[in-house]
């Protein structure tokens, strides 16, 4: 695996870890739209953004 691929892979892995951890720790008592609902949506958007940059040079 090329080194820049590895960098992106680790970034995605980190975000996925957050998607498992945050809702089950900090957000368990936040019964609002800006709790788990927002965090999962935002994390998914970040992953989509990473994919956008990761695949930028595909021709």
């Amino acid at each position: 695996m090329k080194s820049n691929e590895l960098k992106w892979a680790l970034a995605i892995l980190l975000i996925i870890m957050l998607a498992y951890i945050l809702p089950y720790t900090m957000l368990t008592d936040v019964a609002k739209w800006y709790g788990s609902f927002l965090i999962w949506t935002v994390l998914a958007c970040i992953v989509i953004g990473i994919n956008f940059f990761l695949t930028k040079d595909w021709k």
Binding site: M1, E5, W8, A9, I12, I15, I16, A19, Y20, P23, Y24, L27, T28, D29, V30, A31, K32, W33, G35, S36, F37, W40, T41, L43, A44, C45, V47, I48, I50, N51, F52, L54, T55, D57, W58, K59
Partner: protein
């Protein structure tokens, strides 16, 4: 919504889809690559829409909305972690694509067989896919049966619904192979995303706009806005459901085969990005749909009723209700026809060719075409019989197909992987997954998927280290990957 409206909806949908399928015919479909992969010349947007339609079955607006109704926001996390997992395509997609072109692979299992230098690998992996995906298709067919039966108060019978779905799926795959499947898929995807988004906006509007909408969930069912919430989404359940789906883009051949089809890496990129954006919107729509049902009908006996109740409620005009219902049926069909086509290519390429050595491409195509209706009829019979085992295999399908993932990763990233490693990991872990599902066992509280992937990884690594790797083939294959990738990046 009257039964005659539903019939008209179905007829109009089928006519439009048939017309599009007819238009999609281009060139002569006289070889495997043309019929099953569209000559590896698929455009990015059609690929993206078709990938979306194939992935998102009737499950989204029925199952995911139901999961949201039952357990709340955890359903969103579950589906979005799946979506994040599709990032695997950014890493594996170009690799599949370059070797597909270089070696002429038609199926992912054929690639595994060649890379591990053992035809039995291709045979076993493709049979495993059939074992889990035919029951999965059967359950999709039953879904159509129940949906039509439920929405028309039995006036359209369960069997009629199942027969319609089976026949339409066969016809869509037959007209022009993957081309007709991809174009009818695209029609369905566009249709579905537009109509379901309109319905959700109307629902939220009728419930007082977004702030009031969430406000009423906060007061009536606050536990639905966090996990584990009412206990439905315990961490173990969440993990057990997300892990098999996280690897879906690699483990399920009807989507991984798509990685061979785009015309260029640019098209592959459009497929990936288009799918991710589609998936995000559609997931939010399905989850908000489920939440609307929570607000509108807080005390339903079964969560599966959430969608039919919403569709027949006053907030949704009947005509729109019919359109979305036909859309859900089309979503099931668009998943089944892709599976049909993939499984018949697996059979022709990896099973038939084993028994008929020196079979030509033309002979394989002929066999593939004969197998399409046979698999469809098998799925139909399973759907009619409603056997317990079939339901078990269908539920186990995401977990069962997961056992192939270590071998797929090894194909590109581990030279030491061996055919014995693949065979033992796929066969032993596959059987264990079926046993766990059959007897509803959860050792240590973990689901069959978690056990399947863990066991298959251990077996693949340990058995590979104990056996001799196909060094020459592995070096040649991996060198070619490197050379080809450099050409395109």
């Amino acid at each position: 919504m009257t039964t005659s409206m539903v019939w008209w909806g179905i007829i109009i949908y089928i006519l439009i889809a048939l017309f599009i399928a007819y238009l999609s015919r281009s060139g002569k479909q006289t070889n495997m690559g043309s019929y099953f992969l569209g000559d590896r010349k698929m455009g990015g947007i059609v690929s993206a829409l078709s990938y979306s339609a194939t992935t998102y079955s009737a499950f989204m607006l029925v199952g995911l909305a139901g999961l949201t109704y039952n357990g709340g926001v955890g359903a969103l996390g579950f589906e979005l972690i799946y979506l994040m997992g599709v990032s695997l395509v950014a890493f594996f997609g170009p690799r599949f694509w370059v070797v597909g072109k270089k070696y002429g692979y038609i199926t992912p299992s054929e690639m595994l067989g060649d890379r591990y230098n053992n035809k039995n690998v291709a045979l076993v992996v493709s049979i495993t896919s059939c074992i889990f995906l035919i029951p999965y298709s059967a359950v999709q067919l039953s879904g159509v049966g129940y949906l039509l039966q439920g929405m028309t108060n039995n006036e359209i019978s369960y069997s009629t619904g199942v027969i319609i779905a089976t026949v339409v799926a066969i016809v869509f795959s037959y007209i022009a192979g993957i081309r007709s499947v991809a174009w009818t898929d695209s029609l369905q995807a566009v249709f579905m995303i537009i109509t379901s988004t309109v319905v959700v906006l109307m629902l939220v509007h009728s419930l007082g706009g977004f702030s009031e909408f969430f406000g009423s969930i906060e007061t009536t069912k606050p536990e639905h806005l966090s996990v584990p919430g009412n206990g439905f989404w315990s961490f173990a359940t969440f993990l057990g459901m997300t892990i098999p789906w996280f690897f879906f883009s690699l483990s399920n051949p009807q989507v991984s085969q798509r990685l061979y089809m785009p015309a260029s890496l640019k098209s592959l990129r459009i497929m990936l990005m288009g799918f991710m954006i589609f998936g995000l919107i559609y997931t939010l729509v399905a989850v908000i749909w489920g939440f609307s049902a929570v607000v509108m009908f807080p005390n339903l006996e079964k969560a599966d009723l959430a969608t039919p109740m919403v569709l027949s409620s006053e907030a949704v005009p009947p005509i729109l209700g019919v359109i979305v219902m036909v859309g859900i049926m089309a979503a099931a069909i668009s998943t089944i026809d892709s599976i049909l086509l993939t499984l018949s290519s697996l059979f022709a390429r990896d099973v038939y060719s084993q028994f008929r050595k020196n079979s030509t491409d033309e002979m394989q195509l002929r066999v593939g075409k004969i197998v399409i209706p046979i698999i469809a009829i098998l799925a139909y019979l399973f759907a009619e019989l409603e056997l317990d085992l079939i339901a078990v295999l269908s539920v186990a399908s995401s977990a069962g197909l997961l056992v192939v993932v270590p071998s797929i990763i090894g194909t590109f990233f581990w030279k030491r992987g061996t055919a014995a490693g693949v065979l033992s990991s796929v066969i032993i872990s596959g059987v264990i997954v079926i046993v766990l599902e059959l007897f509803k066992l959860k050792p240590l509280g973990l689901t069959s998927g978690v056990w399947g992937i863990s066991l298959s990884t251990v077996l693949f690594v340990v058995v590979s280290l104990m056996t001799k790797a196909p060094e020459e083939k592995a070096n040649e294959f991996l060198n070619n990957v490197k050379i080809e990738l450099n050409k395109f990046k």
